[in-house]
């Protein structure tokens, strides 16, 4: 099976004075293209840290991380930014929309940072808003939307550059179960379209939906299934 991303002996160590925190401790995981992963584990086990490394907003302190055969330690800050913009879609627990911008503008933010930005950006953003069921809200501010709606905006935003990998850190953590399952349905749908999905969660039920499971404990791999 073709790999889209691979962790090889990855460590992420925080040095806080005399204390050394091993948030990730020599982790090796191969992520296959088109797989749906649930990353689980107790609070503080290193899930967010792992996702940050996978999303290239953080760098490992040891080991190497490959995205599509490319070693990220060979990339500089600008290259990592380009990689994030082009190949990775981020979805956060707290939505992280920009409050001053409208729904449509929020969806279009990643386009700002693409080289040779596409002329069909607006049309694509509108199509995505429609797809996540917010066609009638595109001029609203995030503060005027419910949590579930905000997360839909975030999903549309993550999809605007048509990334291969979707990273979601407790994307349903702030939502009620009804809304959460709607969001999860969108993820399943995206996965069936061929996108690789890495979903951090600590809910067993969500883990069951996923095709593959990675369990962390104290920064180490506890289980890969």
């Amino acid at each position: 099976m073709e790999l889209i991303a691979e962790l090889r002996d990855v460590s992420r160590v925080y040095q806080m004075g005399d204390v050394t925190v091993r948030a990730l401790d020599r982790i090796s995981v191969p992520f296959g293209t088109g797989e749906y992963w649930a990353i689980m584990g107790p609070s503080g086990s290193g899930k967010s840290t792992l996702l940050n490394v996978l999303g290239c907003i953080d760098r490992p302190t040891g080991g190497s991380y490959f995205v599509e055969e490319c070693n990220t330690s060979d990339l500089d800050d600008d290259d990592l930014s380009r990689l994030r913009g082009a190949s990775i879609g981020f979805i956060f627990q707290s939505f992280n929309l920009i409050p001053q911008l409208s729904v449509l503008e929020n969806i279009m933010v990643p386009l700002l940072y693409q080289d040779g930005s596409a002329s069909d950006g607006l049309a694509r953003a509108e199509a995505l808003a429609e797809r996540v069921g917010l066609a009638d809200r595109i001029l609203h501010r995030p503060s005027e939307l419910s949590g579930g709606q905000q997360q839909r905006v975030a999903i549309a935003r993550a999809l605007i550059n048509n990334p291969k990998i979707i990273l979601a850190d407790e994307a349903t953590g702030n939502l009620d179960s009804q809304t959460a399952s709607e969001i999860l349905d969108i993820f399943s749908e995206l996965n069936s379209e061929g996108k690789t999905i890495l979903l951090v969660t600590h809910e067993e039920s969500i883990g069951e939906q996923a095709q593959r499971v990675l369990c962390l404990k104290d920064g180490k791999v506890d289980l890969i299934d």
Binding site: D78, S81, N96, I98, P110, L112, S117, N161
Partner: protein, 423 residues
């Protein structure tokens, strides 16, 4: 493509500034006042200097002017029965015109103090008795008719040349050439009108007289009818003064000879006058001094401008630093969505430049209107040069760039993970 990215980032900058309208406005105040004071001061300084230079140029930059000055009361010597005699004499005139080298023209001038009447109108203009050469050295412009001629002087004719303002006052709506006016007891025919001129600063008319300009008559005529005596009625008592010549204008062959003639005049007058009853005006020296004054003014102005713009720039930087902190999370989000450091940097830099340019534009508007007010209310001449607003605009753009650099750099170098965790 480039263009749209550029306008987009400016729109973005303007938009986020409009979110905090009051804060943005207050922030720009420093730049606003800095820029407007620069423009206003430049305009006022330029106007004042231009006016001073024009006054001096009117005196004739190749001239050396000797003037009679009434000495202080207690120093007046001479027998008490006669009138106060002081000032320049014909002897001075002859010495200067015959012995000084490099003198092209030497022109004697007498002031005549007489009322001027036409029909029922009475005015008290400045009356000068002088020769036809006076026009050449002082550059008075003949509007209509002619100037005093050599023949007038030779024939002791009762003719006069009047200032435009005099003509306007005495003959409103009438042809002034050929009219007969009465100067003191004598009738004079008007042969020419010279263009209006503001009286020189050191012989400004008294406010309550209706003098608006001057009348010129031939020197010989002036001497014949009015002599050297003037009688002034001052606070009830009569005061008699005897002045042979009020002014001697010496014009040099070339500007390089001016200082030589000035030195010779100083020496000659010092030798021949016991009392300090004269002054020597050298327009070229005044001009040099005026230019020096202007230079100093410009330096002072430059310093004030720099300080106020510095203060404005620091104000902007302060606010931008606060903005960066306030928007740390937004920066993290943008970074996670693919923004490079350069994008973040640009975003904040554009915002700062929009702020400072906004302040600069408001400052230009204010700075251009202040001189107009000054001109209107203080009756001062001001000149807004074309370069001043452009300079001000350039300065405000640079202020934005310079003082925005550090906050933008700070924003760009935030760690994305840290920034996302902010709050």
């Amino acid at each position: 493509m480039m263009h749209s990215a550029f306008t987009r980032s400016i729109r973005l900058g303007v938009k986020s500034l409009l979110l905090h309208k009051l804060r943005s406005l207050l922030t720009t105040l420093g730049i606003l006042f800095g820029v407007s004071s620069v423009i206003a001061m430049l305009a006022i300084g330029e106007g004042a200097s231009e006016e001073a230079q024009e006054q001096i140029r009117r005196l004739g930059s190749q001239n050396v002017i000797l003037r009679s000055v009434k000495p202080l009361e207690d120093k007046v010597s001479g027998p008490s029965y006669s009138a106060n005699a002081y000032g320049l004499t014909w002897q001075d005139f002859e010495r200067a015109s015959e012995t000084f080298p490099w003198v092209e023209n030497s022109i004697p001038v007498k002031n005549i103090v007489q009322e001027v009447r036409f029909e029922d109108k009475v005015i008290n203009p400045r009356i000068l008795a002088t020769t036809w050469e006076y026009q050449n050295v002082t550059g008075r412009i003949v509007h209509r008719g002619r100037f005093i001629s050599q023949a007038d002087d030779d024939l002791v004719s009762n003719v006069c040349v009047i200032g435009y303002e005099v003509s306007r006052l005495l003959f409103p709506g009438l042809e002034s050439i050929g009219q007969k006016i009465k100067i003191g007891p004598e009738y004079f025919k008007v042969v020419g009108v010279i263009l209006p001129r503001v009286p020189l600063s050191d012989d400004l008319p008294e406010v309550d007289t209706s003098v608006t300009s001057e009348i010129l008559i031939p020197l010989t005529t002036g001497r014949r009818w009015f002599g050297d005596m003037t009688i002034k009625i001052r606070s009830g008592s009569r005061e008699m003064e005897q002045v042979e010549l009020n002014e001697i204008v010496l014009s040099a062959r070339s500007p390089s000879h001016v200082s030589y003639i000035a030195a010779a005049s100083r020496e000659m007058l010092a030798r021949n006058h016991k009392q300090n009853d004269y002054e020597i005006v050298v327009p070229l020296e005044l001009l040099a001094r005026a230019e020096e004054t202007k230079r100093i003014f410009n330096i002072v102005l430059g310093c004030i401008a720099c300080i106020s713009l510095l203060v404005g720039g620091i104000g902007i930087m302060n606010v931008m630093l606060a903005t960066v902190t306030e928007r740390t999370r937004e920066i993290g989000i943008r970074r996670a969505l693919g923004a490079r450091r350069y994008h973040i940097m640009l975003q904040f830099l554009v915002e700062t430049v929009v702020l400072s340019v906004g302040g600069g534009i408001l400052g230009i508007l204010l700075g251009v209107s202040i001189p107009a007010f000054v001109e209107y209310f203080a009756d001062m001449r001001t000149i807004v040069t074309f370069s001043a607003p452009i300079l001000a605009f350039g300065i405000s753009v640079s202020i934005g760039l310079v003082f925005g650099l550090y906050p933008a750099w700070q924003a760009a170098n935030l760690d994305p993970v840290e920034a996302l965790r902010h709050e």
